[in-house]
Assembly symmetry: C2
Homo-oligomer: 456 residues x 2
């Protein structure tokens, strides 16, 4: 059948409207929010149902075409980057919240549901969907599951995996598999749900998820922001707050470079001596008392100034500083957002190492940390308009990654491996785990067509 491309068979077996073959549109679906350059995929399937996914995977298996599953494309590790000859499988149109049970505190959702939409739907019943990656107004539940997304609230409520109870997945050959359960506990068989969460679409395509909801806090959160003359004091305050059992629902640390970027933009009156700011919240019933306790612990650990919110408007102002951080950095240049995680006690050491790596390689690095989790986002800044990070940025990042591992940490706390961390992966995983993971991948995807080159 000379001249007939395999994708025509797919187009015919779905319906024309569901497959995009316009090269410009394809290109926009072949990227995520990293600097990883995509190839030239064959097309984009905009799946509207599980059956579309089954049809696509059967076709892809038959023709041995790589498939790159995708939600909103808000990932930061190149996990959704599509290469030459691949088909992009977008789940963004599968947006149904199929069930929301207040009595059982669960929801059953399609993968394209926007994270914040599920949270809002839950709040109508006094519940919430806890995982809140910074992208949660645009990211999808499917993408969050694929990357095991974290967020600000996970210091109290855990990461996406902690909210995933069961999945429906389509395997590489088009078979449909159900994992997990609707119950809070269950130990029948291996934890396939947990295995899929964070697997970046390399094991199968999630077409439905049963997730756990939690009671939403009754009152608005109480908030503090504290300034410190040294990183070590700020780190000590974090340790003291966690050790006191204050259970913050948010605990963010901004370094001097980040504060300067914000001050540059919005003139927040940054004191010359301030080296770090800590912002904490409590959403507990006794939140105001907890925040006052955190305030005392900050002062006892050398804070030069602590503001405590007594109203939602003031809270917005304090939290606003954290929200401004990323935009403030984007004014300074192009940004490579990184994501190491270390044991909490060595957080100040890690920030010092980041500063040293920046100084050594002449790279401006601004760091924000989910301090309660030891999860740091050093942002490497380079010239606007540069297509990809220059060598000195990678050299500094390489130092940061290696130092995180030396401190007992990990390459990625919540963004994922994608293609961006492939170079460093073996340093953390070791040869046996690497081989075992390849073996697991082959069980699910013997032809290697599911998001090749990602995650492992």
């Amino acid at each position: 059948m000379q001249g007939v491309r395999p994708i025509d068979a797919l187009v015919n077996s779905l319906s024309e409207a569901r497959v995009v073959t316009d090269p410009d549109v394809i290109d926009s679906y072949a990227r995520d929010r990293t600097f990883v350059a995509p190839g030239k995929p064959l097309g984009v399937v905009l799946a509207a149902s599980r059956d579309d996914v089954v049809t696509t995977m059967k076709w892809a298996s038959e023709h041995r075409v790589p498939v790159v599953p995708r939600g909103a494309g808000s990932g930061l590790a190149g996990g959704a980057t599509a290469g030459d000859g691949a088909v992009v499988l977008s789940l963004a149109r599968m947006t149904a919240i199929k069930e929301l049970s207040p009595a059982d505190e669960i929801a059953v959702v399609e993968p394209g549901v926007i994270t914040a939409d599920l949270d809002r739907a839950a709040r109508e019943h006094g519940l919430m969907y806890a995982p809140d990656p910074s992208s949660y107004e645009i990211s999808t539940i499917g993408g969050n599951l694929a990357t095991n997304a974290g967020g600000l609230r996970c210091v109290k409520y855990g990461v996406t995996r902690d909210s995933a109870l069961g999945l429906e997945v389509v395997l590489a050959d088009g078979r449909v598999m159900n994992t997990g359960r609707r119950t809070m506990k269950g130990v029948t068989g291996y934890d396939l749900t947990g295995l899929f969460v964070g697997s970046e679409g390399t094991l199968g395509v999630i077409t439905s998820a049963t997730v756990r909801l939690r009671r939403a806090p009754a009152a608005p959160p109480a908030t503090f922001a504290a300034e410190f003359g040294s990183l070590r004091d700020a780190g000590a305050a974090v340790s003291a707050i966690m050790a006191a059992g204050c259970q913050p629902s948010l605990m963010e640390l901004l370094d001097r470079a980040t504060l300067e970027a914000i001050d540059d933009w919005r003139n927040i009156g940054l004191e010359p001596a301030t080296q770090a700011m800590l912002i904490g919240q409590s959403d507990a019933a006794d939140g105001q008392a907890m925040i006052e306790r955190m305030e005392r612990l900050c002062t006892e650990n050398g804070a030069s100034f602590v503001a405590v919110s007594s109203s939602p408007a003031e809270t917005e102002e304090l939290i606003g500083l954290r929200r401004m951080a990323y935009q403030a950095k984007e004014r300074l240049g192009a940004c490579l957002v990184e994501d190491v995680c270390v044991p909490r006690s060595v957080l100040p050491d890690m920030i010092s190492a980041i500063e040293a790596a920046g100084a050594r390689h002449g790279v401006r690095i601004c760091t924000v940390a989910h301090a309660g989790d030891g999860n740091l986002h050093p942002v490497f800044i380079f010239e606007h308009g540069t297509v990809e990070p220059p060598p000195e940025v990678w050299a500094a990042a390489d130092e940061v990654f290696r130092h995180a591992l030396e401190l007992g940490g990990t390459l990625t706390g919540e963004h994922g491996v994608g293609v961006l961390k492939q170079r460093w992966l073996a340093l953390e995983s070791g040869p046996v785990a690497t081989e075992v993971q390849r073996g697991i991948k082959a069980v699910f995807d013997p032809l290697g067509i599911l998001n090749p080159g990602k995650a492992i």
Copy 2:
């Protein structure tokens, strides 16, 4: 080498003291706490180090000898039952707490550490190890990990998997693999830690675990016990308490049959109209207020009587009722302890179905439930001294399992599949997940020597 048994090579490569070949002693190591009859294993290796485990697995791979890993043998699903020609690999002597870091709230332990010992060690630093299966004074961390053990506190703190951060495991061929991390978050590669937890020793032998500790409550818990004239009222009270966000740290339901068994033994003055008792605790800072709120919710939902503890002694008395439950049943006969879990909202339906199954088959069944989780332990009672449960018990259990699945539940909330649930496994897992799990098993254990016939 006629007459030389393969186990002699193992005995020689370890040291004589570490391998038990006395048949009587072997038999005691070939059982857990179920009615599953063991076979005649070749011997028992009492491992004292990771190297012993490596040596054993290399030998077992070479000679294709099945290996049954084992902690305290307190399991309730036959997961540690050893068959003919197997070698039992006991980890009970590996009892070192290698590290306990209050700053990072983690511990690194060998698998033979008794669960309650780790909890006590943590409490010296104001921390706790949260998972508390009823067996926690005798069970080991390794066994808890192998079964993903639950417990009373998991309604607030989650199951064993929620406390497991990283593992060192010895694979079937003797290779050593590290999984996971020391950090609170991390998404490098597939979740091998979660995969091992609950895999009942079928994928590898855990030789070290990094577990998460939590802040121990500052004050002793506050407690209530409420009596209800109907199961449905008790179920409604559970729902109301959970919906109100009271966050109980324990929430147990005892049915009429259980209360009768306790009354029979200890004469607790059981009222004829009482159909169920609910016992709840809060370990929160505002625990007393929370308990009073729970008390009100019980009263509003028809409780005929509610006692609230105002002292540790009274608390002990109320909780004592729950603790007595199992012993009270053992007086009545031999006990098959079951473990279904359903969505919380259908807990009363599940208890009614259990009662109906008992009535239909003429089997006395007493049920205790971790009500906040929807996890029920119906105990099937039959004649003392019977070697295994008679057919009518299995017929009633079969009905109970099928009904749990029909209600959207699972065969096992926290005890595991072992050999006991093999008959029903396919009903829950379905053919695709079953095949996939066999594929995963083959990646780790291509010769099928690790605890064959268990878990999947």
